[in-house]
Subunit: 113 residues, 2 copies
């Protein structure tokens, strides 16, 4: 998952899941799983989009935007995603934090021009 | 501002400001101003910490954590920060989006070990 576009989100309120992580050394199947999870999440009800960037030193952030908290919960409990989460803990992440957020307000350049 | 640590945030609820941006070409004083703004924000009441990462293609994300919405508003209105915001619009960012969020829940590896 390496999106280099700012997500076109709807008018607030909506939800954001901030996932900050520090990777272990080596790929170990991470990139393929990351692509697969992004494709899978994209098909979930309520998924809006994601922004993601990682530094070569291993530090990275992915923010996924969702229309509802229910969508976030269903995604967290998805069987394939749960397997990926377990592999993340065992293999891919040295450290991580997930933050579930309500986006109350937003502003910026007009992304639709 | 290039922090490569996961911020030690307090028990939720607290606030997050997600700033996603795409940089223009060249530095043009950006790095020095970014360091200065981080130092300045760090002294503001209610500031908890920040996580930041930018891809070489110009796409980057900075998330600042705050204890209160009032702290976020005071920082937005700070005179030096307002000048930096104007320079950002004029010079440094091709596109950006700021999202003000209430962090309702979080979990992850124990960052205090």
């Amino acid at each position: 998952m390496s999106e280099s576009e700012i997500t076109k989100t709807p008018r607030a309120p909506y939800y954001a899941v901030i996932f900050t992580s520090i990777r272990t050394e080596g790929d170990n199947g991470y990139d393929a799983m990351s692509d697969k999870m992004f494709a899978l999440a994209s098909q979930m009800e309520g998924f809006i989009g994601a922004e993601s960037v990682r530094h070569p030193d291993g530090f990275g952030m992915t923010v996924c935007y969702w229309q509802t908290l229910e969508g976030i919960k269903r995604w967290k409990q998805d069987a394939e995603h749960q397997l990926a989460q377990q592999m993340g803990r065992d293999r891919w992440y040295r450290q991580y934090k997930t933050r579930i957020c309500l986006v109350q307000e937003d502003y910026g350049t007009d992304l639709f021009e």
